[in-house]
Amino acid sequence: MSKNSKLLTGPINLNNPITVQVLGICSALAVTVKLEPAIVMSISVIAVLALANVIISLLRNTIPSRIRIIVQLVVIAALVILVDQILKAYSPDVSKQLSVFVGLIITNCILMGRLEAFALGNKPWESFLDGIGNGSGYAIILIIVATVRELLGSGTLTLPAVGEIKVIPESFYQFGYENNGLMILPPMALIVVGIIIWVQRSKTRELIEEN
């Protein structure tokens, strides 16, 4: 595997920002009740992370290391505001659902983590790939969690531009099936993420820790 494609695929499984590095958990819990906000949030994070990585990588030789955190924050904040404004303009409903969490991308640990650990020491193209890779790793977990929670919690799946699809047929409800109210509550997101981590660790030899 070439080095560049490793940058792209590594964070999706072996170095996943949520399940392995355990970063960015808060937003994973908050926006996964329905699928649509989770997808929009994922796209926003991928965009912000890739662009911020490129910008910081371009600036990396000119940033004095004492003020680098402030510079990183300024870059991220500018990009997040941009994303927020675009969302407000083109899909106000989703923007309302995501509410403060788009703004909180600024404090998402994945972003600071990647800028500090990768973009400050690598060339723009590699940084871009790293941003896309880590953003996708975040997106995959978010989408799995949101699918489970919406399917079992509301019996529907909501896709951007398509709208709400009823997945569980009406006849199930007539036989006494009920939506699982616990799935809509935040603790269940934590448990679903926990189960994903459990399954991933037991499937992947490299991740099993020796003790």
Partner: protein, 397 residues
């Protein structure tokens, strides 16, 4: 008993290696240890503490202890049902209806739970653990009789996996699996776990229910009527009624009398800690008294006399059978006092001050389960500090 023991000893060689029925050896062994002290609890060599008590016997005693509450619960299910449709059919038919409604729940709970355990035995390749014996009988007793069976199955599987297996199986769990199953049902399917319609068999369907009948539990009414609690027909209920337990409620929780019989067995055999039980009831009484003192019109439930609190709802059942679970309770002796007292105290606090959760017992015990290791930690630290001080004093002298 002696004759039985002789008979078991006589047929034993048939089931050992090389015997006629060695294929059934495992099953014979489980029956033998259920009945008598197994001869192989600890290796005979080495510095082990040898005790006839193993986890299988421990669990069978708890199962035996809940039998009175279970039988009474079955009768009460039938009694409440025929009360709601206004016919008087006599003891056996009432018990029969209860048996008919409760038995499927018990079977589903055991099949789902043991099935999950077997899957994990297969994955982990180790011996089956007896941990589910108790949870399997406790789960049916703490849920309303009308809970759909598939919900019982899902809650049981959830409790076994998330409550127990992820932590490493029996003995490693942080919270009580049976209570976790109930908490799961309570939050996942609130419409089947709370309200006035779920506690009496088939009340929600409403077939043949007599006019003016209300299936509200005493605690459900307390939110509005305070101490002025009536039975489904409108007669006032007394402390004696709560004690005997012919009131609507979860299957096994209503009868304090039957629970105390079970508690006596647990205490006599030393399976349940008397420190936890006693301090839990003390904690509940103290909180009840406090609330009585500050009773006001804003929350009528505060006026319930403290002794009624100890008999109502799942308090007695939870504190006797759930809080004393040796795995999830505090382990240190001082810790047990703190643990039990806080559990009782919190249970009444949640029950009265948060009308959305009339069953505060569940929340309180789960909360204390989580806090138990912390309590133990500080009890041990305090002891270490005390002993260190003693050393210093000795040095100065």
């Amino acid at each position: 008993m002696k004759g039985l023991l002789k008979y078991v000893e006589k047929i034993k060689p048939n089931f050992e290696k090389g015997g006629k029925y060695q294929r059934w050896g495992a099953i014979f062994e489980s029956f033998e240890t259920f009945l008598f002290v197994p001869g192989h609890t600890a290796p005979r060599k080495g510095a082990h503490i040898r005790d006839a008590m193993d986890s299988k016997r421990l669990m069978s005693i708890v199962v035996l202890a809940v039998v009175p509450a279970l039988l009474f619960g079955m009768w009460n299910v039938g009694y409440q049902y025929f009360l709601s449709i206004g016919t008087d059919v006599g003891f056996w038919q009432e018990f029969g209806h209860g048996l008919y409604r409760v038995l499927p729940i018990i079977i589903v709970s055991y099949v789902a739970g043991l099935g999950t355990e077997f899957v994990f035995v297969h994955i982990k390749q180790k011996e089956i653990e007896e941990g589910f014996l108790v949870s399997g009988i406790l789960i049916p007793l703490i849920i309303p009789v009308d809970t759909p069976l598939w919900m019982v199955a899902i809650a049981t599987i959830f409790a076994v996996i998330i409550g127990k297996e992820v932590f490493g199986g029996t003995g490693m769990n942080i919270v009580n699996p049976a209570l976790l199953a109930r908490a799961f049902l309570f939050f996942a399917y609130p419409s089947k776990m709370s309200g006035d319609k779920v506690w009496v068999s088939r009340l929600a369907e409403g077939n043949g229910v007599i006019d003016g009948y209300s299936g509200a539990t005493p605690l459900g009414q307390a939110v509005e009527n305070g101490a002025n609690i009536v039975d489904p027909m409108g007669h006032k209920l007394s402390t004696f009624d709560y004690f005997i337990g012919w009131i609507p409620g979860s299957i096994g929780e209503t009868s304090a009398l039957m629970i105390f019989i079970g508690a006596a067995l647990l205490l006599y055999t030393g399976v349940g800690s008397w420190k936890i039980m006693f301090s839990a009831f003390a904690g509940g009484a103290v909180m009840g008294l406090l609330l009585n003192t500050f009773a006001s019109d804003t929350n009528p439930a505060m006026a319930i006399p403290f002794y009624d609190h100890l008999l109502l709802g799942g308090f007695a059942f939870g504190m006797v059978f759930m809080a004393t679970d040796p795995v999830t309770a505090a382990q240190t002796e001082k810790g047990k006092w703190i643990y039990g007292f806080s559990a009782g105290f919190m249970a009444i606090l949640v029950r009265v001050l948060n009308p959305a959760y009339p069953e505060g017992v569940m929340m309180a015990i789960l909360l204390m389960n989580v806090l138990a290791p912390l309590i133990d930690h500080y009890v041990i630290r305090a002891n270490v500090k005390k002993r260190l001080k003693r050393i210093k004093v000795a040095k100065i002298n």
